[in-house]
Amino acid sequence: MTTTAAPPIRARRQRSRRAVTNPRDRARYAIRRYPLLPALIFTIVVTQLPFVVTIWYSLQRYNLYHPDRNGFAWFHNYAVIFEDSTFREALLNTVVLTAVPVLLSLLLGLLIAILLDRKVFGRTLLRTLIISPFLVMPAAASLVWKFTMLDPVFGMLNWVLTPFGVHHVDWINTHPKATIITVLTWQWTPFMVLILLAGLQSQSHDILEAAALDGAGTVRIFRYFTLPHLRQYMELGIVLGTIYLVQAFDAIFMITSGGPGVTTTNIPYYLYEVAFRSFDIGRASAMGVVVVVLTIAISTAALRTVFRLFSDEGMSGR
């Protein structure tokens, strides 16, 4: 069925919505599903089946240390979790250790992207340097931060701050949350820089020049032209950054082991501890279910943002 003018994809899809009445059309649209099926089936099997198993285990009293006590316990595990103050604290820590790095790296990333959008000397080299914290293995970077940067006696940070009267501060133990936030922000700022730089460079320079010729100052141009244009890029950065930072594990495992106490224990680390240190499968499974339900509830709001990113034209800016 050819047409003389190439129809945009949206028109094509609307036409398809009405036309699926006769068997031939239905067959044609059924065929379209085939390329999707391998990826879909693979994802369902690998992600949804384990979740069903998690629910099954969450209803049982199942501890690898005490196999004699295994058996059905229905909602006992859930009751235990909701009375567990550590779990509540882990939830709170997860919110803090996700939101702060995301926002800080967004702001820093914006600043650096603005600086890089100009004709700076050695711009390509600068871009190469700035993406390095994102490419470096988080586990490796965490170790380097833990020892060479933050060590109380030999660490770089203490040495640099000595002229300011700082002596042998044990950053990791006295400021654990700040440490983790710093390391995570350091890792994810380059990510934001790249996304926002792409946004800045995709601005229409004609419009900016026209505004400048009309007498608009730099700040006004930024506020009324650049920021609205950057909005979808910032949203993309926030969504992707949150998805990954909610699961932050490497830095906490390597630097603080969740401590001191439970000050830097977030949900992934707490799940790891309960499952692999106390071997309480039932309780860990119940926690996993609760986390999944909470994430679904929260990400419904996030998905509405993602909805807007899924416009037919992608992000090519129409």
Partner: protein, 295 residues
């Protein structure tokens, strides 16, 4: 260049561009210089830990943990060579799991992205949401059943387990990225190919594949980065045989005695492949991360 009419009363310079467009800013005003220096300062600060990590790998242990930190020292290659010797099997495992999982991701994601963009299924939005929603659920929530299933299937400490799981971790992002790259291809190209009588397979091979290869390369790079650096699953589901490079780093976690130089050498080697790939393919990295928004 712009089409703004001159206000009434402005003398008209025939054949000349408006003065504002003609005047070029001087290159070295103090403001520009200061901003340039600021840019360099901030970025060097960010890069410093990476540079220090690589540098410390060349030190002997006695030069590694000192106060004040030593920049001048007698370099040695012994740390890097011993780290490499100890880490070779981990490197091999990492290369295997990363490359194989990335290949499988591309194999699965490309047709799926095609079915969600160019020849879309009826419920493409639902399918896309489903893929993305699997990324929003923390892996930590699934680690217990994964561990138990792997244990019962006797695939704990097997590379295949990691390959399968890394594929499932990267698939949603790959589908999302490839879809946005495919959407950039002008529809006319497909119409032209179809009018020319090419079958669907032929269309795909000679039209879609060449156009999508930069986007596919960008996606492969992103998958490579995330799979290589993945820590949580590797640490929990492998011990010796299938252990990847991140697991090798765990042995440094609670170090005693002098080990900083050795640690930094090992850490630098661990980061090297992804660093080189990312540096070499910077443009692809940007395209991938911004979902193809930058041409």
């Amino acid at each position: 260049m712009t089409s703004i009419p001159a206000p009434a009363g402005t003398p008209v310079h025939l054949g000349e561009r408006p003065a504002a467009a003609r005047r070029k800013p001087r290159r070295f005003t103090p403001g520009r210089l200061l901003l340039g220096l600021l840019t360099w300062l901030i970025i060097l600060l960010f890069f410093f830990p990476v540079a220090w990590m690589a540098l410390t790998g060349f030190k002997q242990e006695k030069d590694a943990a000192t106060t004040p930190p030593r920049v001048v020292f007698t370099p040695t290659l012994s740390q890097y060579s011993s780290a490499f010797d100890k880490g070779v099997s981990y490197l091999v495992n990492s290369v295997f799991t990363t490359v194989v999982s990335t290949l499988i991701v591309l194999l699965l994601a490309l047709p799926a992205a095609y079915a969600l963009s160019i020849a879309p299924v009826r419920n493409w939005r639902d399918s896309l949401f489903f893929f993305i929603s699997t990324k929003m659920l923390p892996v930590a929530g699934a680690i217990i059943p994964l561990y138990i299933i792997a244990k019962n299937l006797h695939v704990l400490d097997h590379r295949v387990t990691l390959v399968v799981l890394y594929t499932s971790l990267n698939l949603p992002i790959a589908v999302w990225m490839l879809r946005s790259f495919l959407l950039e291809i002008p529809v006319d190209i497909f119409e032209a190919a179809r009018v020319d009588g090419a079958s669907l397979l032929r269309q795909l091979r000679s039209v879609v594949l060449p156009l999508i290869s930069p986007g596919a390369a960008a996606t492969a790079l992103i998958c490579f980065i995330f799979a290589w650096n993945e820590f949580f699953l590797a640490v929990n589901l492998t011990t010796t045989t299938a252990a990847t490079v991140p697991v090798y780093l765990v042995s440094f976690q609670t170090g005693e005695g002098q080990f900083w130089a050795h640690l930094c050498a090992g850490a630098t080697l661990a980061c090297l492949p992804v660093l080189i790939a990312g540096w070499a393919a910077q443009d692809k990295l940007v395209r991938g991360l911004s979902m193809g928004a930058v041409k």
